[in-house]
Symmetry: C2
Subunit: 251 residues, 2 copies
């Protein structure tokens, strides 16, 4: 179904624009991904040699090579030369960093309506706050306190504040202990780094009072996390995200 | 920070295994992504010509070409030949399909603990159900009823049931009307297609009674959506997801 749609889309592209040098490698990528999503290929499995796969798929070796390179760049495949047991092209156990990188990039490019991104952030960060209230360690809480202290510094400018603010939200997501939710939260939050900084800049002279309000809100989130009160933590988090968004929109 | 970690990771790989033919193109990819995430490059912007970019980054043209190809395969860049205003390499407005595809692939490969995936599903599908209760159109509800009717069919086997079940959850996510949340929900749910089918298979003879229970749960979710009762819809959704997971684990 998705493949049919993708084919139709490619047909549309072919109909209206000059044909690029080659798109065969995209079909090879589709085949590899299909095998992974259906569980035919699992982490550590070795793919057929370039030459053999080219023959099986009736495509050129160059197309297979391009597809492998593209999948390697996404972190899906690992290619090694040599003759050891790890040589050849194998399916990689993706590092969490790869998922975050891709999701962040895609959120930055997909042009989702701002309201949708705020709603997604509220959902993700409420869950992160709830989990962090249950699971945050003493070390997690210490890191958060240090970030709050740095944001209290009178010399902290908008750019630094934005970085520390991002790190505070990331620390809560990490403390929540659910890797998949943390990755999604961090990716969506990081894609907001620039729009939020633009929001800070647009505040002009009222930046000082806005920062004061954000500091109070961060502290109230932190206090709820420290006492393990998940319900309060997630409510403060939601008010914090919606409040800042509303104040930027009103201007 | 993320770049430093990625570099360290690459260093580790280099230390312990034979060096692959080239990794320079990965550095080119990093540079392009950095420009996108920081907003220096926006959708529709044209990248420098291969030759110029190679010179600016002090890398070979081949490395730039490989990087462009890999980013094109991810849907991030669009490459067109010719001389029109759209020719050259431009930043693409990513189709939603690209994000879903990548996230699905990554969830399938990242080996998140099953418990984390269930928690993420509960969060995402609770939000989808709540949004769908508010926003589902008559056409959305009709589609859901048709899927439920197809699952009621006595001839419906496990494989068909699993497909229809997936489609029912996807229809609710789509009806929620938040593109970003729907994309994340669909990607995570689709990554569960195979494990869920394995769960169905493992049920053996008790498949019939398990399917009966799933049908009742689907109906109760649908009824809440139809009456616009978001709180009930999301509670039924959570019970449904956790219940099936618990029944598979108990075996």
């Amino acid at each position: 179904m998705a493949e049919v749609e993708a084919d139709e889309q490619r047909e549309d592209i072919r109909r209206w624009r000059p044909v690029a040098r080659s798109r065969t490698y995209e079909l090879v990528i589709d085949r590899v991904e299909e095998q992974i999503v259906t569980g035919q290929l699992r982490v550590g499995d070795r793919l057929p040699a370039e030459r053999d796969l080219a023959q099986m798929l009736s495509v050129s070796r160059a197309a297979v090579r391009e597809a492998f390179r593209a999948l390697e760049a996404q972190g899906v495949l690992r290619m090694s030369v040599g003759t050891g047991p790890d040589s050849g092209t194998t399916v990689a156990a993706l590092p969490s960093e790869a998922l975050k990188r891709l999701l962040r990039l895609h959120v930055a490019l997909a042009n989702f309506p701002a309201q949708d991104v705020v709603e997604a952030r509220v959902m993700l960060e409420r869950q992160s706050a709830r989990n962090a209230a249950e699971r945050a360690t003493a070390a997690d809480l210490k890191e958060m306190r240090e970030l709050l202290a740095a944001m209290d510094d009178a010399d902290c400018d908008r750019v630094q504040f934005n970085e520390l603010d991002t790190d505070f939200h990331l620390a809560i997501a990490e403390a929540g202990g659910n890797r998949l939710i943390a990755d999604m939260t961090i990716a969506v939050r990081e894609s907001m780094r620039l729009p939020l900084l633009e929001g800070f800049q647009a505040l002009g002279d009222s930046w000082r009072s806005a920062a004061e309000r954000l500091r109070r809100e961060h502290q109230s989130i932190y206090d709820a996390l420290e006492t393990g009160d998940g319900a309060t933590a997630q409510q403060h988090m939601e008010n914090h995200i919606r409040g800042f968004w509303a104040s930027v929109r009103e201007r």
